[in-house]
């Protein structure tokens, strides 16, 4: 097992429990555009972290960097998940190490049915929720299991994307705007699910424009602005801090 | 460049010849053998090596000191067996390298196209491999000369042998490559064989790009034909013959006779490609390296050439090599005799020129159409090759009289030689 360096002192918050996912001084580029400009933060096991910021702040870029996708390129920095150095891995290895990303544009695979999209997630171990259990959570998907995934309605696709992440046995769930395009009832539903899996020990990072909702769910919040962290603290703090909300979240 | 009243008149102490052969594509092997011969000829002209056929050539004008005292240089090009590319290559030899004579080619289409170009540019074209009647028929040009034989001659030489071997009561089925050469050869063979009593059952044109001929061969089985004539060359021929053998045509009995296959235009390079399948199959050739040994000293020059070539390259020359070698020597000789590189003077020296000692026996360069007349070989794939080079055995050397035709023969009608063009 790899040993995780202790970054915790550098994160500007009081350390209580050892961090589960650590991002240390991460810099990311799209080609020549410098997007994420050296950010560090920690997430603890079983915690929900809200990653907030305006359009173009670099939230998606941060999640993609953590998930080790080819683009953006992480030029410097370290990412550790449960003692494993993610920054040395390719995306499929990061996934095997326990990372699950629900990408912002859902990325339902064309040409595959709903069920195949889910089966695909269960080809490489470790396997998480069973299909039956997923269909229970999202009955609409069960009804449409033979339909081609990309012909689902926007909201249904979002459900499929989340279900697909849960179909794998993951340790950290990265959600990029999971509520987008979902009917309020469904948002409630998903929120419930997130709380539920949190109780079972899931660690989550959620990026969401609906900041209030996200903050109500989250334990902690990190606010990004032009690729740097401008706030790292408890979710409640943001909800209380008028100025912060106005300046970075416009709420 | 224009000095001396004709295109590319050599000014320095060298003269440049252009050898334009297929170096890529399906005829590359022929092209390379032609190049070898050209190189050898140039060496001999410049007095290097053993002199090859210079020693046996009936004209003694050449002395190994180049042409008219100028050292012979050469440039080479790739025709890619495409008229377009061949013309481009020839043009560059003329425009860039100042070539004063172009030789080579291995497809009649290409030869005709390049011959046309040379006519326009005022350059002598000494055709290499081209067998279509049209080259010295409807497409003949005053600046163009062909040493190689043609389809008519093949037919004239083959017909009596076929008659002797297979009888006069035969039904022939033709497969023909769908282009000039195929057409004229088919026409010639059909005419010659019908004249001796054969019947032509069918003639099917096959696309040049075909690789699998099975769908053309299969109908032969039940057509009632007992002879298959393959008017194919190169890869086409290797494949169609292979296919025909696969379909059991050679073991077949029709009308109480053995089924026979004829490949009117033969070459040892093709024979090599066709391997076992070629055994016993009859065709015609312009020349063969065993000619002098087997048919006597009428074909003097053959051994001298085989020796020079064989020692340099390690294997005997093909007919392609021989014809290109001969053409180069003939050109040099004509220049020397004319005392000028002027194409019109050269043409005059070549027209009606009678010579011997270049391996084909006594030969005439006929003035009317610039076609050489000489004996034609009827050959057959060797049943038991004595060695890896003896793939072809000579059946007969058909005397020149038998293959000579009148200049106005209908198969060659249609074009005019025109007047010689010195260019510039």
């Amino acid at each position: 097992m790899n040993v995780r360096p202790d970054f915790s002192k550098n994160a500007n918050q009081a350390e209580t429990a050892p961090a589960f996912l650590s991002v240390w001084d991460m810099h990311s580029y799209y080609g020549e555009s410098y997007i994420v400009q050296g950010i560090s933060f920690n997430v603890h096991e079983g915690e929900i972290l809200a990653l907030l910021g305006r359009n173009g702040a670099g939230k998606t870029t941060t999640l993609r960097s953590i998930a080790r996708l080819d683009n953006p390129q992480v030029s410097r920095g370290e990412i550790w998940l449960d003692h494993q150095p993610l920054h040395k891995m390719a995306s499929h290895q990061a996934a095997a190490a326990g990372l699950g990303l629900v990408p912002e544009d859902r990325r339902i695979i064309p040409g595959l049915t709903v069920e195949e999209n889910l089966e695909l997630a269960q080809i490489a171990p470790p396997i998480g929720w069973s299909l039956d259990r997923l269909y229970e959570l999202f009955p609409r998907l069960g009804e449409r299991r033979k339909q081609e995934g990309v012909t689902l309605s926007g909201g249904e696709q979002q459900m499929l994307a989340i279900a697909r992440a849960l179909a794998r046995d993951i340790k950290v769930l990265l959600l990029d705007e999971p509520y987008e395009g979902l009917a309020p009832v469904i948002v409630d539903e998903i929120e419930k699910t997130l709380r539920h899996i949190k109780e079972q020990g899931m660690t989550t990072i959620i990026v969401e424009q609906n900041a209030v909702r996200a903050l109500q769910l989250a334990d902690r919040a990190v606010i990004l602005d032009t690729g740097s962290i401008v706030f790292d603290g408890s979710a409640a703090e943001v909800l209380e801090n008028e100025q912060l909300r106005a300046e970075y979240l416009a709420i | 460049a224009s000095h001396g009243g004709y295109t590319n008149a050599p000014t320095g102490d060298t003269v440049t010849l252009g050898f334009n052969v297929p170096q890529t594509g399906p005829y590359a092997e022929e092209g390379l053998d032609e190049l070898r011969a050209f190189e050898l000829a140039v060496q001999h002209l410049n007095g290097e090596g053993d002199g090859g056929m210079l020693n046996t050539f009936s004209s003694k004008a050449l002395n190994g000191a180049g042409i008219l005292g100028k050292k012979v240089n050469f440039v080479t090009g790739d025709t890619q067996t495409k008229s377009d590319a061949a013309r481009a290559s020839a043009k560059s030899m003329i425009e860039k390298d100042g070539a004063i004579m172009i030789s080579g080619g291995s497809s009649s289409g290409v030869a005709v196209a390049v011959q046309g170009l040379c006519q326009e540019a005022g350059i002598i074209f000494m055709a290499g491999l081209t067998h279509s009647n049209d080259t010295t028929g409807k497409d003949k040009k005053a600046n163009g000369f062909r040493h190689f034989f043609n389809a008519y001659m093949s037919a004239a030489a083959l017909a009596p042998v076929l008659n002797k071997l297979y009888g006069s009561d035969r039904r022939a089925y033709h497969l023909t490559a769908d282009y000039t050469w195929g057409w004229t050869q088919q026409e010639s063979i059909q005419a010659a064989t019908e004249a001796m009593g054969w019947e032509t059952v069918n003639n099917v044109l096959t696309p040049l790009a075909s690789t699998d001929f099975s769908s053309y061969i299969a109908p032969v089985l039940n057509s009632g034909a007992d002879v298959l004539v393959l008017n194919h060359y190169g890869g086409n021929m290797v494949n169609s013959l292979t296919n025909a053998v696969q379909f059991g045509l050679r073991e077949k009995q029709v009308n109480g006779k053995n089924f026979e296959i004829v490949v009117p235009l033969y070459s040892e390079l093709m024979a090599k490609g066709a391997g076992q399948n070629i055994k016993g199959i009859v065709g015609s050739q312009n020349w063969d390296w065993k000619l002098e040994n087997q048919m006597g000293s009428r074909y003097i020059g053959t051994n001298a050439f085989v020796k020079s070539f064989g020692e340099k390259y390690g294997f005997p020359p093909s007919q392609a090599a021989q014809t290109c070698y001969a053409q180069t020597l003939l050109y040099a000789d004509a220049v020397t005799r004319a005392g000028s590189f002027n194409p019109c003077a050269v043409a005059e020296a070549l027209e009606g020129f009678e010579f011997d000692g270049l391996g084909n026996g006594p030969t005439l360069y006929r003035a009317d159409d610039h076609q050489c007349f000489k004996d034609v070989l009827v050959v057959r794939g060797a049943e038991n090759p004595g060695n890896e080079f003896e793939l072809v055995e000579i059946v007969e050397a058909t005397p020149v009289e038998q293959v000579t035709y009148a200049p106005d023969h209908p198969m060659f009608a249609g074009g005019a030689l025109g007047t010689c063009n010195p260019g510039a």
Partner: protein
Amino acid sequence: MDAFLLQTLNGLDKGSAYALIALGLTLIFGTLGVVNFAHGALFMIGAFCSVTLQRILNLSYETVDPSKTDFLGNPLKVKTPYVESWFGPETGGAIIEWSVPLAIIFAIPVMLAIGFSMERGLIKHFYKRPHADQILVTFGLAIVLQEIIKYYYGANPIQTPAPEALSGVAQLAEGIVYPVWRIVYFFFAIAIIGAVFAFLQFTTFGMVVRAGMADRETVGLLGIDIDKRFTLMFGLAASVAGLAGVMYGPINAPNYHMGMDFLVLSFVVVVVGGMGSLPGAVLAGFLLGILESFASMKEVITLIPGINQIIIYLVAIVILLTRPRGLMGRKGVME
């Protein structure tokens, strides 16, 4: 009637070749999304595997036979293949004679190795590049491979005959004979096609690769090492092409440009079959093979001159205009 039957057989046979080449091509082209202009070259290399094996088996030592002379009048050198001297002329001769079937065993590792190294070394970097770039690089590669073969083996065709037992003709019915090797080829093609289908149908491999082509990134996010599978797929396709080439040798003697001769046609076959559809490629291969055979019949040519030269393209146009995605194409693949 016989003529019809014969042409159908011929068509099936031509179709087998088209289908096999198209099958390999569509694995790369329709599944990995790479326009592989070097596929023909892989077919050609397969054929040259058997040429090479034949050469290896024919490796000989020379003895001088003073009683005979060579073409220059020197004493003749006689060659005896080592295999014959090791195993005796009987067995040795048989081994040489069976070189084409033996070449299958020889070709599989060779083609896999070529396929793997080609994918790892070159193609891998081109998945995300535009098709145009893929065309340029694979075309360049095809030329290079072809020229290398030409350099070593010359431009002329080289015969790779079938073993005696499998050549000759078989009597199929009264008055209907057909070359044995072509029948062998047909069944060989069917077997390969069946094996590939089974592999892709009864494993998740096919689905994963298809998904990977549609969206590599997401498949990676699901923990799947798609690169490895792509490499394997490429090796598989190269082997299919290579085996098609090995077995094709006895039908037409291999030469260095046989791949280019088939290349354009196999693209047509794949597209007519429909992008991304394996059954489509096979179906189109057989269909075009049969149509081409019938179009070469004298009766047909007389009716429509030149039809034999254009039939494939004509049919391709008609099919593509009436069925937007070819016979069985999937939506969104290379549209």
